[in-house]
């Protein structure tokens, strides 16, 4: 894949239109890497002039902050901001709502001011600008959409992901808890990195049950962590043959046989 880094761009005297912030999950997690690649394919298809930080990218500090470690968060934030500002980054797109939220809302006060998009917003923008076409390849297919907390409640982004899912021609089935009342997948607030406290159920299993109730064939989402949690939930219920979990970027890339 042709994925230029900011350093390479700079050495050619170029500065890209947008920085793709890949995030830790998107960089290292096998499942999330597929989402990263799918999104890059879409960027290529739409001829977006983009770059990544590559080995210069580091954790945004979101998980550390939500775990209560404000020190580590601000250390990460301040050194990331130094790098971003040295490349004079203006626009960032993230495939992870946690990076999106942190970069967009928590970095400005520390000196990092950027226009930050979640990839579903960015894809919608590309479609509106006529740079990307979404093929109606999933006509009539039942799809349900799981709202990531940090995209939905956290930042009020409910419609962009739904708008572009609908463009696939799908039959969008809402879960009983959706949009501002959506149930968390269980990963946020650094829960992803620890076992849950004692209880009678795992949150991702409850959320997956709500998704299964819709009889959808696909659970679409826009967060690598939600993706993991929902995928595990489907496995727990042994419904892998009935329902699959996909990121919206993957659905759109596959619709175009990318």
């Amino acid at each position: 894949m042709n994925v230029p880094t900011m350093a390479e761009m700079l050495s050619q005297g170029k500065s890209p239109e947008v920085l793709f912030w890949v995030g830790a999950a998107g960089s290292y997690d096998d499942r999330a890497k597929k989402i990263t690649r799918a999104f890059v394919k879409l960027l290529h298809r739409a001829n977006v002039d983009f770059a990544v930080l590559g080995t210069e990218e580091s954790s945004t500090g979101d998980a550390a902050k939500r775990a209560g470690n404000e020190f580590l968060f601000q250390m990460q934030a301040i050194s990331n901001i130094e790098i971003l500002n040295s490349y004079e980054v203006k626009t960032i797109v993230c495939t992870d709502p946690h990076s999106f939220n942190t970069l967009k809302n928590e970095y400005p006060e520390l000196g990092g001011n950027y226009k930050v998009y979640h990839h579903t917003q960015f894809i919608k923008k590309l479609v509106q600008e006529g740079r990307l076409d979404i093929k109606k390849s999933l006509k009539g297919k039942k799809v349900t959409y799981h709202d990531p907390c940090y995209l939905g409640r956290g930042n009020g982004v409910y419609e962009s992901p739904r708008d572009i899912i609908r463009k696939l021609g799908v039959n969008l089935q809402e879960m009983k808890q959706h949009k501002n009342r959506a149930l968390c997948c269980g990963a946020g607030g650094a829960q992803m990195f620890k076992d849950a406290e004692k209880g009678d159920k795992e949150i991702n299993i409850l959320r997956t049950e709500q998704a299964l109730e819709t009889n959808a064939e696909i659970i679409a989402t826009g967060c690598p962590y939600c993706n993991t949690m929902m995928t595990d939930g489907v496995k727990f219920h042994e419904k892998e043959s009935q329902i699959i979990v996909k990121d919206i970027a993957e659905l759109i890339a596959e619709a175009d046989n990318l």
Partner: protein, 437 residues
């Protein structure tokens, strides 16, 4: 002329309002024990939110049954209280229905008639509320934190309302001349026949007793607020006004930490620098919150405002899956501790005396705090914009930054971020490998 009733009324009013003012002052003092936080920006937006959410009850109706019933009680409560104005004037000056001749029978009748209908609707709504709390066994009213006083508190408020509304109807029903006039008695006219056997004198005594019981009841209820979850009828207004206006996903950056981090990362900083001569060495600020006085005043206002409806808890993913965490309990425990600190200050003549207790551990356990997914469902659900999540986060900060007491797995995650810029143990040099896989 006999002025005893007027004087007794004035005394009752003075005592009732006096105690209330005293309690409000104590309330304000306790809230001010919180740390400073600036919520003086975007005034227009704040007024709008207060009008929409507190006055307009816009978030209540997201649960239609409870929301609809609540709007009835709320509208009834506000409108019927206009009548209290007449009661106070009558009581102080010994008049009887002073507004009747002033407004004329038709307008006065229309007003009192409206109050009567509202009083009846409030009665019905309150009885349904009681059934929901006690018979229907709605889950959010059955939780662990709702046993004992919180349950009695909820019911007491309903009994108060039943008694006050009944007295209002009874007072009108036994007012012979009011019933004779036949204006404004759409409900009390059906109660009046129950007393048709009584002499006019007895009727008049019953009316007087009902009138007195009604106003004394109102004054007692007013003073009950301070001890009750019912404070929300007042505090919902400032609470929605001062609520956080930033996106819910945004958590505050601790400025005390920024200072230290900038110093640590400044290549020109002298690590062996001594504090300048003459300057007091600054006591490092405590990071995060372990007691109510570490929280900010809006968080403390939140605690007093919470009416324990439990919408937050019923939408909390941790609570729904049987974890210890209940956002409602976080608010209730914060208030309990704050009241304890307040009483401590009262008994120690204005200065807090260390009681060996704090909010953390003595009220809220780390297990509760670590169960939170920071999903903001509780914040979204709260009909009056209370933010339990911010308290949870501040207490986590204390656990991690002051006590290094994070769960072991989170310590590993944080070590990884420190060493290789990712929550997992991958080499930062492999960060771009995905492009060639």
């Amino acid at each position: 002329m006999n002025y005893i009733p007027n004087i007794s009324f004035a005394i009752a009013l003075f005592i009732g309002i006096g105690f209330f003012v005293m309690n409000v002052l104590k309330l304000v003092r306790n809230i001010k024990l919180g740390k400073a936080v600036d919520r003086s920006d975007r005034k227009t937006q704040r007024w709008k939110n207060m009008a929409r959410i507190a006055l307009g009850q816009s978030k209540m109706v997201s649960r239609p049954i409870a929301g609809f019933l609540h709007v009835i009680v709320y509208v009834g409560f506000i409108i019927i209280n206009i009548e209290v104005l007449e009661i106070i004037i009558d009581g102080l000056f010994g008049t009887h229905r002073v507004f009747q001749p002033l407004l004329g029978n038709s307008i006065y009748g229309f007003l009192i008639g409206t109050f009567e209908i509202l009083a009846f609707l409030v009665l019905v709504a309150v009885i349904i509320f009681w059934l929901r709390r006690n018979i229907v066994q709605i889950k959010r009213f059955m939780s662990k934190e709702m046993k004992g006083w919180p349950k009695s508190d909820g019911n007491l408020i309903l009994y108060f309302e039943i008694v006050l509304m009944s007295l209002f109807i009874l007072m009108n029903a036994t007012d012979h001349s009011f019933q004779e006039a036949g204006f404004g008695n759409p409900i009390s006219q059906f109660v009046a026949p129950w007393f048709s056997e009584y002499s006019l004198e007895t009727l008049s005594s019953i009316e007087h007793i009902a009138w007195w019981a009604h106003i004394i009841g109102i004054l007692i209820f007013l003073n009950y607020l301070y001890y009750s979850k019912h404070l929300h009828i007042l505090l919902a207004f400032p609470n929605t006004f001062f609520a956080n206006l930033q996106p819910k996903g945004q958590f505050n950056n601790l400025s005390s930490v920024t200072k230290e981090v900038r110093m640590m990362m400044d290549p020109d900083a002298d690590p062996y620098a001594m504090p300048e001569e003459g300057l007091e060495e600054e006591i490092p600020e405590k990071f995060g919150a372990s007691d109510v006085t570490d929280l900010n005043w809006v968080q403390l206002l939140n605690a007093y405002t919470c009416t324990e409806c439990g919408r937050c808890t019923s939408s909390c993913p941790a609570n729904m899956t049987g974890k210890e965490l209940s956002p409602r309990a976080i608010m209730m425990k914060t208030r309990d501790r704050l009241e304890e600190v307040g009483r401590n200050i009262d008994t120690n003549k204005g200065a807090f005396k260390d009681d060996g207790k704090q909010l953390l551990n003595d009220y809220i356990t780390p297990e509760e705090l670590w169960a939170c997914t920071s999903c903001n469902a509780c914040v979204e659900e709260c009909p009056i914009d209370i933010d339990p999540l911010s308290i949870i986060m501040d207490m986590r900060r204390f656990l991690v930054m002051e006590q290094s007491a994070a769960p072991q797995e989170l310590n590993m995650m944080m070590t990884n971020i420190e060493n290789n810029g990712a929550p997992w143990q991958y080499n930062q040099q492999d960060r771009l490998n995905w492009k060639d896989e």
